[in-house]
């Protein structure tokens, strides 16, 4: 029983990272209608920028995280301006942005490889506390607890912002119909910039935390987050942080439990099998009532 609870906790911690990444990925899909293949690279870059802060300027961990998150956010805005904005007027639909985002993913990924020398980097030991924290008879690493707290806090924050502020209403309006939103006085251009920044910054945050928790900062880390985050968004449903959080946690727990009780090599099969099954049975996601109008 202890083992089960321990693994449940580990699964929640892992799922929190997935959810954190998936918030931004889902936001971009629901609001801007972009299936952003390059989103994983924002995570790799966020982690890499934070590492650069730690290595070059001896920043403590928290300022380094802030630098990484803001850096990733700005990168997201730059990518939106250069690769997605020119397509908005043309109406090339989903295919167009998939193609440019593949291009961007290739560019950013190759640059990650160049900066890491194709190796896996990690934060130098002592950057953050590596203690085990006891919770009753169970224990978690400090950074895993940070992951869980971050995911739940940000989910709550995003929920409040999206449902109870003018800004959130603007974002939802643009997601529903950008032209109608603009007619009713929403500054669509600003909403798009804001969404791009927020989504990439969240990816950067997930990247930093994932890099810290798994001691793996590389191109592969971003790719893994992309696919797991993608699964979390699809399983949980688009456009609602509660669904995305639930989707991320479900996948995290399913992975850890599957590895523990079935077979560790089928870990990915469980995630992607779940993804495929949900797409077939309930394409809008297990927890979503929202209809996807546009993409």
């Amino acid at each position: 029983m202890t083992l089960f609870l321990q693994q449940l906790l580990n699964g929640v911690a892992l799922g929190s990272t997935y959810a954190l990444f998936a918030f931004g990925f889902g936001l971009v899909f629901a609001t801007l209608g972009i299936l952003n293949i390059a989103h994983g690279m924002f995570a790799s870059w966020g982690a890499l920028i934070a590492l650069w802060g730690v290595d070059e300027y001896d920043l403590p961990f928290i300022p380094a995280v802030v630098v990484g998150v803001i850096g990733a956010g700005l990168l997201g805005v730059a990518v939106d301006r250069l690769a997605f904005n020119p397509l908005r007027k043309r109406g090339t639909g989903l295919l167009g942005t998939i193609i440019t985002s593949i291009g961007v993913a290739i560019i950013l990924g190759t640059l990650v490889d160049r900066f890491t020398g194709h190796r896996t980097k990690r934060y130098p030991s002592g950057t953050f506390s590596e203690d085990l924290v006891d919770i009753g008879s169970l224990n978690l690493q400090f950074i895993q607890i940070v992951n869980i707290i971050a995911a739940f806090t940000i989910a709550a924050g995003l929920y409040v912002v999206m449902r109870h502020t003018r800004m959130g209403a603007g974002i939802r309006a643009v997601g529903y119909d950008p032209d109608a939103a603009a007619i009713s006085g929403v500054n669509a251009g600003r909403v798009i910039l804001l969404t791009a920044f927020l989504a990439a910054a969240l990816a950067g945050f997930a990247g930093v935390l994932s890099g810290a928790a798994t001691s793996n900062i590389s191109r592969g880390m971003g790719d893994a987050l992309l696919f797991k985050g993608f699964a979390a968004v699809v399983v949980g449903g688009f456009g609602d942080v509660r669904g995305t959080l639930a989707g991320g946690l479900l996948i995290g727990v399913a992975e850890v439990m599957g590895a523990q009780y079935i077979s560790s090599s089928f870990r990915d099969a469980i995630t992607f099998g779940l993804l495929f099954a949900v797409l077939l049975v309930r394409p809008r996601g297990l927890f979503s009532e929202l209809e996807l109008k546009r993409a």
Partner: protein, 306 residues
């Protein structure tokens, strides 16, 4: 001419793989031509490639037999998948096929008795550039004939407006199913040739990178004409190769930049039938426009009746 032959021998391998990539791109185009945004060509390739590897190891099958086996394997799996995939609306098809490619790799890794697992499978090369050229030529011939057939017309109708097409008595689901099976058959063949030329296939051979690049190649070459897929794949394969002589490690980046630029400035790709039509019928010269329109209408009428 001699310069051309020089280039040819220098880049022989690149050209071979360019053609094989072209087949994958054709497989992607086949489904895209009916509006099904599918990245499953990589999965079909995996079925073809691994079936061929197994048959070669166990039964010493020849290349021709391998190609037929790959074609059948790809087509069969595409047919089965079409029943689940085509129930979904377009965005979800894209996502489901991405999921499919991810799942395929998991199965390749976890079925070592069939695929060699994480270590992959080795093969004996049987094909030459001429084989690859021949197969490509046959596939292109099929697409050329299809484009001018009733099926091609129906496919265009389904792609442009499924509702209108179904009002006109075109069974959208059926046309899309045919296109997916065609995609599977060509993907399977491409997988066989890929496996044969690489002489080794593993879990990462038919993975998401291939799926993404092939979709990109189709759009780069032109998603509105069957020849675009081949052009796109060859450009996509050659550009890094040529650039790597000048820049050591920037050639990957060049491909990425190319994709973004093409999509922004030439969203219909390099081969664009609409552009050619405009050129042929004169650009906006008012005096001729009535005549051009008549000619166009005549062309279309002919296409409908033939």
């Amino acid at each position: 001419m001699i310069a051309f032959l020089d280039i040819f021998s220098d880049y022989r391998a690149t050209f071979t793989f360019g053609l094989i990539y072209g087949l994958f791109a054709l497989a992607t185009y086949a489904s895209l031509a009916t509006g099904v945004l599918s990245m499953a060509a990589a999965t079909f390739g995996a079925f073809g490639g691994f079936s061929y590897a197994r048959l070669q190891a166990d039964h010493d099958i020849g290349l021709l037999g391998g190609l037929v086996a790959g074609l059948l394997a790809g087509a069969a799996i595409a047919w089965i998948l079409s029943f689940v995939l085509l129930r979904l609306s377009s965005h979800y098809v894209a996502m489901a096929t991405i999921a499919l490619v991810l799942i395929t790799r998991v199965f390749v890794v976890n079925l070592p008795s069939l695929t060699g697992g994480p270590n992959g499978t080795g093969l004996v090369r049987q094909s030459t550039l001429w084989w690859v050229l021949g197969v490509t030529a046959v596939c292109l011939f099929v697409f050329w004939r299809l484009a001018n057939s009733r099926y091609g017309l129906a496919a265009t109708a389904v792609r442009e407006d499924p509702q209108a097409a179904s009002t006109l008595g075109v069974s959208v689901r059926h046309i899309q199913r045919v296109s997916l099976v065609l995609s599977g058959a060509i993907g399977g063949v491409a997988g066989v040739l890929m496996a044969d030329q690489l002489q080794f296939i593993g879990p990462n051979t038919f993975y998401i990178d291939l799926a993404f690049t092939m979709l990109a190649a189709v759009v780069l070459g032109g998603a509105y004409h069957w020849f675009g897929a081949i052009v796109g794949a060859i450009v996509f394969r050659f550009l890094p190769e040529i650039l790597s002589d000048y820049i050591d490690d920037g050639h990957e980046i060049a491909n990425g930049i190319l994709l973004v630029i093409i999509m922004i400035y030439l969203p219909r790709g390099i081969v664009d039938p609409r552009r050619r039509k405009q050129r042929e019928h004169g650009l906006g010269s008012k005096r001729k426009s009535a005549k051009a329109d008549a000619a166009l209408a005549h062309d279309q009428a002919e296409a409908v009746t033939s």
